[in-house]
Symmetry: C2
DNA sequence: TTCACTGCAAAACGTTTGCAAACAG
DNA sequence: CTGTTTGCAAACGTTTTGCAGTGAA
């Protein structure tokens, strides 16, 4: 297991896990487990809810997808596994990825203020998305 | 209601809500609803779980406490209601507040990249807390 | 008397688990 | 064969809800 990060033929990329991965990769959105389950059933009607969860855990561990947990409700899963930041709309809840150049200086400042040994750093912007801002 | 942010005598600061508020203010930690329930019962043995939840929602709406939801499990509640950042220990899960001067330039950059109208911005550092870093 | 708040129990929600059957190496 | 993965159903922890009873204005 974890013998490589290749997409095909990696350790246990079963049909079910592949279906889940395909659903996530095929969507630009950040899907919930429930949405993934519904879509995965179209690819593989026999798949079960628990298997979707198991697959999500597997894929997250393998680094093939990224789990995002925010605010209320369910986790969401993201095909983007590189470091990135999030913007959340206060009106409609939409979650958007973006990338910021967080300077080394900022990381150092954060580490100094928190007394933590930093491993990763992420920024979250809350506001109004383009569809919800007044006078769009 | 919401006639002021005063601690005493504000709109509906009932005995139960006051007990919950006291528990949160009396702890430097970020308590879960469950922990708050347990401690609040020591102040007010008849208080119920649902009332703790109702009170937390009320206090959060009034801006008297701050709700923090991260990763697995339960929400946590923070007496600090000013803008601030969080550091989370990847080893023990400890959650620590700190404050960073997020420059206007950074906010502008985030707004530009995300196309959001910014309302608030927050940074999350993950790493190892002082107790968990090797060679402490 | 009125209306908001409380306490309780039950339900809802997202997620995890136990286990037998199916599968892959 | 052996270990892993699946599907199902039941359990779990957190939070919300419905409703009758309480208490303050």
């Amino acid at each position: 297991m974890a013998k490589g990060i290749g997409v095909q033929g990696s350790g246990g990329l079963t049909r079910q896990r592949d279906a889940v991965l395909r659903v996530i990769r095929g969507s630009g959105e950040h899907l919930t487990a429930c949405e993934i389950y519904e879509q995965a059933r179209q690819l593989l009607p026999s798949i079960s809810y628990a298997t979707v969860y198991n697959s999500l855990k597997f894929l997250t561990n393998e680094g093939l997808v990224h789990e995002v947990k925010f605010g209320k409700g369910a986790s969401r899963y993201d095909r983007e596994t590189e470091r990135h930041d999030h913007a959340i709309c206060n009106a409609c809840g939409k979650l958007v990825d973006f990338d910021l150049d967080l300077s080394e200086e900022l990381k150092r400042q954060a580490a100094r203020r928190s007394h933590f040994k930093p491993e990763s750093i992420q920024l979250t912007l809350r506001g109004l998305c383009p569809d919800c801002r007044p006078g769009k």
